[in-house]
Amino acid sequence: MQLLTAKLACLVALVAQLDLTNAVKHADFKTCSQSGFCKRGREFADRVAAAGPAWTPEYELAKDTISLNDGVLTATVFKTVDEKDGGKVELPLKMSFLVNSVARVQLDEAKRQKGEIELRHDSKARKERYNEAEKFALVGGTNYDVHANILNSDEDSTKIRYGWDGQQVVIDYKPFKISFIRDGEVQAVFNQRNFLTMEHWRPKRELKEGEEATVDESTWWDESFGGNTDSKPRGPESIGLDITFPGYEHVYGIPEHASGLSLKETRGGEGNYEEPYRLYNADVFEYITDSPMTLYGSIPFMQAAKNGSTVGVFWLNSAETWVDVTKSKKNPASLSNEKQSTHTHWMSETGILDVFFLPGPNAGYVYEQYSDLTGTTTLPPQFSLGYHQCRWNYVSQDDIKDVDRNFDKFDMPYDVIWLDIEYTEDKKYFTWDPSNFNDPLSMQKQLDMRDRKLVVIIDPHIKNDPNYSINKEMNSAGYAVKDKHGEKSFEGWCWPGSSNWVDGLNPNAVTWWKSLFDLKRFPSCSKNVHIWNDMNEPSVFNGPEITMPKDNLHYGNWEHRDVHNLAGMAFHNATYGGMIERDGPGNERRPFVLTRSFFAGSQRTAAMWTGDNQASWEHLAQAFPMILSQGIAGMPFAGADVGGFFGNPVPELFTRWYQSGAFYPFFRGHAHIDAKRREPYLVDEPYRSIVRDALRLRYQLLPVWYTAFQRASKDGMPVIRPHFVMFPNDPEGFGIDDQFFVGDSGLLVKPVVKEGQTETEVYLPDDEPYYDYQDYKVYKGKGWHKVHAPLEKIPLLVRGSHMVPRKDRHRRSAGLMKFDPYTLVFAINNEGKSGGLLYHDDGETFSYSTGSYIRKSYSFDGRNIISRDFDVPDERIDPAFVDSMKNVRVEKIILVGVPDDWKDKKTVTVTDKEGEWKVDLEFKKGEKGYANVATVRDPKAKVAGDWIVEL
C-alpha cells in the first residue's frame, strides 16, 4: 500500500512554489488596467463620454453599400483613422435576420480578412480575425428569415422588419448605431454611446530620433505579466461595443462569477464594483465571494429584464472579454416617465465582432432563442441526479468499497462515488495506481450491485514522459497544442509535472481522444464508469494567469488567445463523444461528464460545478446565485461542492449545506485532500439524521428533477428558476437570488445559508396559497412571510396550482427506485384547481428519442383528477420502456387545500379503460392556519395509463 505522502511528493514540490497561505492571489490575475485592451477600452469609453456631443464619431455606415437579400443585410462600415494609416478602414458588416426573431450582427476587418497584413516575429499564426467560435458554440437557429424587408430608408437610417412578431431594426449610419424594436419600444441599442471599437491592423513603426510618441503604444506590441511575455504578433486587435437596454433595470448572466444573480454596476460608487466582469477561464485558487473576478468558465450571454419584458444578448467571442455595467439614475425631479436604464460595455481581445440580439419577449422565449443557437442541456442519465460522493482522494479500492458499504450501513442513499487524481499511476490518465488500485474491476462490480456508478477524473494535461504511450501517440501525431513557434508541443506544468496538452480544436486529435475511452482500450473500465474533466481552462501551473500563453498555436494556427474560452469545451465535448461511442454502435448510453471549464454550448455535453469553494457560510450563500446564473445562461446542470472544498465545515454548516445541496441540480459532496474526512454518515447526531433527511428529500423528489431536466433539454428552460423568470410582471422579485422555484413543480425553496438562523423570510410573488411541504401550513398574500426554519427544517413551500410527483420509498440508489410507485401531491389554488407534468424514461439510453418515454399530465379541476398523455407521439417506435412500466402505479394521491365540505367523502371512483372501482378517501381537517388534506388511498391507477379519479 503506497501512501499519499509519497504520491504527493511531486505535488508538494510543485505547490511549494506557490504560496498557499493566502486566499485568492489577486496578483496572479489581471485587473482591467493590467490587461492592455481593457485599459485601452475603458480609457476610450471615458474619452468619448467626457467629450459628450463634441465627440466626432469614428464609425460610419456607407448607405449605398446596403443590400438585403433573403434575410441577410450586408454593408460596409468605415472607420476614420489617421491619414498615415490610410484615412479609412473598411469593415464589412453582415446582419442576419433569423426565423426565430433573433438578429445577428457581424463586423469584420477587410484587410485582415484578406490577409493583407504582416505578422511580427515570423509568426505562423493566422492573419484573419478569429471567426470559428460558431463552429463550437452554435448548433443551429441560424435559418434566415427570407421575409425580412426594408420598411423605409432615408438619408440617416434604414428600418427593417423581420421575425414572427413584427420586430424591427433601425440602422443609423452616422454615427453608426443599431436599435432593436419590439412592441413599438426600443429594447436595445448597439453603439448608442459610440464605444464601438475595432482596432485595425497597422505595422509597428519605430520612432525616429527625436520623434515624440503621439499615442501610448505601451500595450500594443508586447505585454508582460507575472514574468511572462506575450509576443502579440498581430499587434492591437481588440473589439468593443456598448449595448444599452433602455428602461431595463436588471441585467443577468455572463457567468461565471462569484457574484449576485442581478449584475452590479462596475464603475465604482457605493456598493458597486471597480472592475468590469471578466470572462477569461482560469484556475483561480481560493476564490472570493462577491467579486467580478474571472473564474473557471464563461458564457457571454446576458439577459435584461423589466416589468413584463425580457431580452437577451449573446456575444459570440471566445477571447478574453470584459464587460462593464452601469445604470443611469432616474432623475427624481423629472416629470417624465423616464425609467432606469442599463448600459453595458463589452470588450474582447481579438476576433470578429459577432453579437446576437434575442428579442424575447419573456424569459421562456429568450431561452428558446438561445437554445436554438447553442443547444440545450443533454438529458442527464437518471443516476446523475442522485447524490454524488467525492473526495480528493479515496485512497484505494478498499477505501471506496468501505465508503460504499458505510452508506448502506447508515442507510443513506447515494448513486455515484468519485476518484480524484490520485487513482492514477503518477497522474498518467487512463492508468490505475498499481498498489492501491490493483483490482479496479472488483470495486466497480461492488458498486454495480446496487446500480451505483464510479466517476474518474481525466484531465487534458498529458504527462510528458517518453514511456507513457498516450503522450507518445499524441506528440508523434501532432495532436497537442503547440508553442508560439508552431513546431513543438507546448510544454508546461500541471499535476504530473511536465505535461503537454491535447488540442480539442484538432478534429484528428478529437477522434484519437475519443478512441481512448473505448471499453476495449481503457484498462479496467466497465460501463458504470463515467468521467470528470478538470483543469481544462486549461490550468498550467507555470503559465501566465495559471493558464496557457496566449501566443501558443492551436490546430489551424489559431492563436490560443482567439480560442481560450472555448478550449475547455472542445475538450469535454471530445470526452463526451468518446463516452457515447465506447461500447460500439447500438450500445450507446447517456454519459455523465463533469467539467470545470465551459463556454456557450457546454450544456450539450457536460455538467459543471463552481470549482474550488470554501467551507464557509459566505461560500454557502454564494452558491445559489452562481447556480441560478448558470441556469439562465443555458447550463442548468450545475452545482457547488457540498461542505465546501477547502477547510472543515462545522456540523451546522455541514448540515445546512446538505439541505442546500439537495436543491442543486448537480448534488455532490467534495473535500480537499487536507480536509478531514466528512462522508455524511461521519457527522454525529442529530446532524446525521438531518443530513439523511436531506438526502432522502432529494431522492423523493427525483421525479420533479427529472421532469424539469427533460423540459430544460427540450426548450432551455432552467431547472431551478429565479423569480424574474417565473414572475416577469413582479419587479419586486427581480433582485432575489436566495430563493427559487424547482422546474414547473411549484416548489419554492429558500435553504438557510446563515449561521444560527431558526427563521427566515420568504417572498411570495402572488396571492396564491403556498403550502409548507412538510406540514401543509398555509402562507398567503403577496409579500414577505416569516417561515420557521430550525436546523432540521428547509423552508420549502408548494405553490397552489401545481402537482408535485414523488417517489416516497426510500431506496439505496436512484436505479433501485425504477419500478417504485408514485405519490402525486396536488396543491390546490384559489380557483380550486391544480395540475402538473411527469416525465419518465429508462434513464440511461437514448431510446427516448424514438418515443420510449412517458409524459403525463395530471390535472385536478375541482371535481376530477384526470391523467392523460401530454405531447407524446401517436405511434411509438420503441415501446419497450412503456411496456416495462405497465405495472408501476400511483400509490397515493394527496390533495392539499381541499374545502371543508369534503369531510364526508369516504370513497372515490377510479375509471380507466379496464373498468372502474372504488377506493378510500381520507379527509383531514387542518388546524388553524393549516390546510385541509384529502388522501386517496391506493387508487391502483397505472402511472402510464389514462384514467380519471372522480372526487
Binding site: A16, F410, R677, R812, K818
Partner: protein
C-alpha cells in the same frame, strides 16, 4: 408415539409459519394473528385498526409501518417511526435475519441478509433470487468455526498476557515500596550528613591541623581497613547481581511453564509433558518464600553506605583550648562566646594582626562532608524521581487488568508499498522508507479508546447487522490506541495514528491506511482484545 407427536409438532409449526404474513418472524407471530373481527391494530398505535386484508397489501397504513412487514410500502417512513425490525428472512439452512424494508423488491438479491432470496418475490425488473442458504450457510459455519477456534486461541493468549500483567504489577508495586524504603533511608542519611557537616564546619573554625606523618602506624591501619571494606563490598554486589539474574531466569521459566500449562493439548497423550506439568503444579503449590524486601534494602544500604573518611581518620587533631573551654558552657553561652570570638578574630584579621585562613583550601574533612551531603541529596532526588516514574507507570490506564502492560515495548512491522510500518505497542509508530531507510514518526501513544459501536449505531437508527460481502477477517473490537504528535506534515497537521485492535493470537499488523492526509489508521491484531471464549461464541452467532 413419540415420533408421531414430534411429527404433529412439526406440522403445526409449519402451519403456523405458513399462515404468518410475509416478512413476519415467528417471535412476532402473535402480533399478526387474525382476530374474530378480521382486523389488525398497528403495533404501537393500537387505536388504528385496519382490515386484516390490508396487511401486506403494499400500501402503508400504520404510522409505525407494522402493517407492511412483507413489502417496501412503509420504507416511506423515517427510522425513528418504524416499530418492526424489518423484513424477516427465514434463511432455511442458515441463520434468519431482518432486512430493512427499503430493500424488499428493489431488484437486488440481498444475499448478505436474505440468503433465501425471499426479499425479491415480485421479480421486479426481471430479477430472480434463488436461495443460496445451503452454500452460504455451510461457508458461514466453516468461517464461524474457524473464527471461534481463532478466538479461543486468542483468548488463551490473553490469559497469558493477563498473568504477565499481574506479575508485572506486583513487581512494580514491590519496586515502589523498595523505592519508598530507600527514600526513607536516604532521608535519614541526609539528615545525618547535615549534622556531620555542621559539626565539621564548627570544628574546622577552631582547630589546628596536622597531617599524619607518612608511614605512621595510624596511616597504615587506615589504609588496610579501607581496602578490606571495599573488597567486601564488591563481593556483596556481585552476589546480589547473581541472585537477581537467577531470579529473572526463574520467572521466565515459570512463565514458560504457565504457557505450557494453558496451551498444551491434553488429548495428546505425552507422558513427559504430563509429568512435567504435575511437577509444575506441585511446585506452584509450594509456599513461596517471598523475598524479604527489608533484608534486600539493608543489603543495598550496606553496599551504598558512604565510606568512612579514612584520610580524616588518619589525621591528628589539636583542638584549640578556647573551644575546649566553651564545651563546658551552657549552649546559649557557647553561641555567644563563639560569636564574639569570631568577631574578634575578624577584627584582628581585618587589621592585619592575624593571618587570613587559607581560601579555597578547605580541609579534606570539610570537603568530604560537603561532598557526602550533596551526593546523598542527589541520590535522594534521583530516587524520588525514580519513584514518581514507577508510580506513574503503575497508574497508567492500560486496559482492563492492565492487559496491555506486557505488550509495552513489543514491536511489530510490515511492508506496505514503498514503506515499512513499525508499531511498538503503547509507544511509537513509524513509517520507514524502504528506499532510503528514513524514519518518519507517526506519533506517540496517548490513550486507549473503547467504543461500543453497536450500541452507538443502534441508538441512531443505523443497521448493525450488515455482513460484509467479502472480508472473513476478524472485525475490529472497538478498542483502539491513539497516537499523536508525530512529525508534522508539510503544510499540514502533525501525523497521528489510530491503532484499531482486533483479536489475534499473535501480535500482527494487518493493514495501514491514510484516509485523510497525515491521519493514519493501523489495524493491529493482539490477544489483549480477545474476549473470553464464552462471549466470543455469542458474538459469532449474532453476526450470522
Amino acid at each position: 408415539m413419540l415420533a408421531k407427536s414430534l411429527l404433529l409438532l412439526a406440522t403445526s409449526l409449519a402451519l403456523s409459519t405458513a399462515s404468518l404474513p410475509r416478512g413476519v418472524s415467528p417471535e412476532d407471530a402473535q402480533l399478526y394473528t387474525q382476530s374474530e373481527s378480521k382486523s389488525f391494530r398497528c403495533i404501537t398505535h393500537p387505536s388504528i385498526e385496519i382490515p386484516f386484508s390490508r396487511v401486506n397489501d403494499d400500501f402503508c397504513d400504520c404510522p409505525d409501518g407494522s402493517d407492511e412487514p412483507g413489502t417496501s410500502a412503509c420504507a416511506t417512513l423515517s427510522h425513528k417511526n418504524i416499530s418492526i425490525q424489518g423484513f424477516y428472512c427465514h434463511n432455511k439452512g442458515h441463520t434468519a435475519a431482518y432486512l430493512p424494508l427499503g430493500r424488499v423488491n428493489d431488484g437486488v438479491c440481498d444475499y448478505d441478509l436474505c440468503c433465501d432470496g425471499s426479499d425479491e418475490y415480485t421479480g421486479v425488473g426481471g430479477v430472480k433470487c434463488p436461495s443460496k442458504c445451503a452454500e452460504m450457510g455451510a461457508a458461514a459455519r466453516k468461517i464461524a468455526a474457524e473464527r471461534q477456534a481463532r478466538r479461543s486461541k486468542g483468548s488463551k493468549a490473553r490469559d497469558v498476557l493477563l498473568k504477565k500483567a499481574k506479575i508485572m504489577r506486583k513487581e512494580m508495586e514491590d519496586n515502589i515500596s523498595t523505592s519508598k524504603t530507600k527514600i526513607q533511608a536516604i532521608q535519614l542519611k541526609v539528615a545525618k550528613l547535615q549534622a556531620v557537616l555542621k559539626e565539621t564546619e564548627e570544628r574546622e573554625r577552631s582547630r589546628v591541623i596536622t597531617d599524619p606523618k607518612p608511614g605512621s602506624k595510624l596511616e597504615i591501619l587506615a589504609k588496610t581497613a579501607k581496602d578490606k571494606v571495599q573488597e567486601l563490598k564488591n563481593q556483596l554486589r556481585k552476589l546480589q547481581e547473581q541472585r537477581d539474574a537467577a531470579e529473572e531466569r526463574l520467572e521466565k521459566t515459570e512463565a514458560i511453564l504457565s504457557v505450557l500449562k494453558t496451551d498444551y493439548n491434553p488429548n495428546f497423550n505425552d507422558e513427559g509433558v504430563k509429568n512435567a506439568l504435575r511437577a509444575w503444579e506441585q511446585y506452584q503449590a509450594d509456599p513461596v518464600a517471598a523475598r524479604n524486601t527489608a533484608e534486600n534494602t539493608d543489603l543495598q544500604t550496606m553496599i551504598d553506605a558512604e565510606d568512612i573518611d579514612w584520610d580524616e581518620m588518619a589525621k591528628e587533631e589539636a583542638v584549640a583550648a578556647f573551644h575546649q573551654f566553651t564545651q563546658y558552657l551552657p549552649p546559649g553561652a557557647q553561641d555567644w562566646v563563639n560569636t564574639k570570638l569570631e568577631e574578634a578574630r575578624s577584627l584582628l584579621i581585618d587589621n592585619g594582626l592575624l593571618a587570613r585562613p587559607p581560601v579555597g583550601n578547605e580541609s579534606p574533612a570539610l570537603t568530604a562532608a560537603k561532598d557526602s551531603l550533596s551526593a546523598a541529596e542527589s541520590d535522594l532526588s534521583r530516587e524520588r524521581s525514580h519513584l514518581e516514574g514507577l508510580e506513574r507507570d503503575l497508574s497508567l490506564p492500560l486496559g482492563p487488568d492492565d492487559v496491555f502492560r506486557p505488550l509495552k515495548g513489543t514491536c511489530i512491522s510490515k511492508d506496505f508499498g514503498d514503506y515499512t510500518y513499525e508499531y511498538c505497542f503503547l509507544d511509537k509508530a513509524h513509517q520507514i522508507s524502504r528506499k532510503d531507510g528514513s524514519r518518519t514518526s507517526l506519533g506517540n501513544f496517548q490513550h486507549i479508546v473503547t467504543e461500543d459501536l453497536q450500541t452507538k449505531n443502534r441508538a441512531s437508527g443505523v443497521f448493525v447487522s450488515i455482513v460484509e460481502e467479502e472480508g472473513h477477517e476478524e472485525p475490529l473490537s472497538g478498542v483502539s490506541l491513539k497516537h499523536e504528535h508525530g512529525t508534522r506534515c508539510w503544510n499540514g497537521p502533525e501525523r497521528s495514528v489510530e491503532v484499531g485492535l482486533y483479536c489475534a493470537q499473535v501480535e500482527e499488523l494487518r493493514s495501514v491506511s491514510e484516509t485523510e492526509k497525515c491521519v493514519y489508521k493501523f489495524e493491529v491484531g493482539t490477544a489483549a482484545v480477545c474476549d473470553d471464549p464464552a462471549a466470543a461464541k455469542g458474538a459469532v452467532k449474532d453476526e450470522l
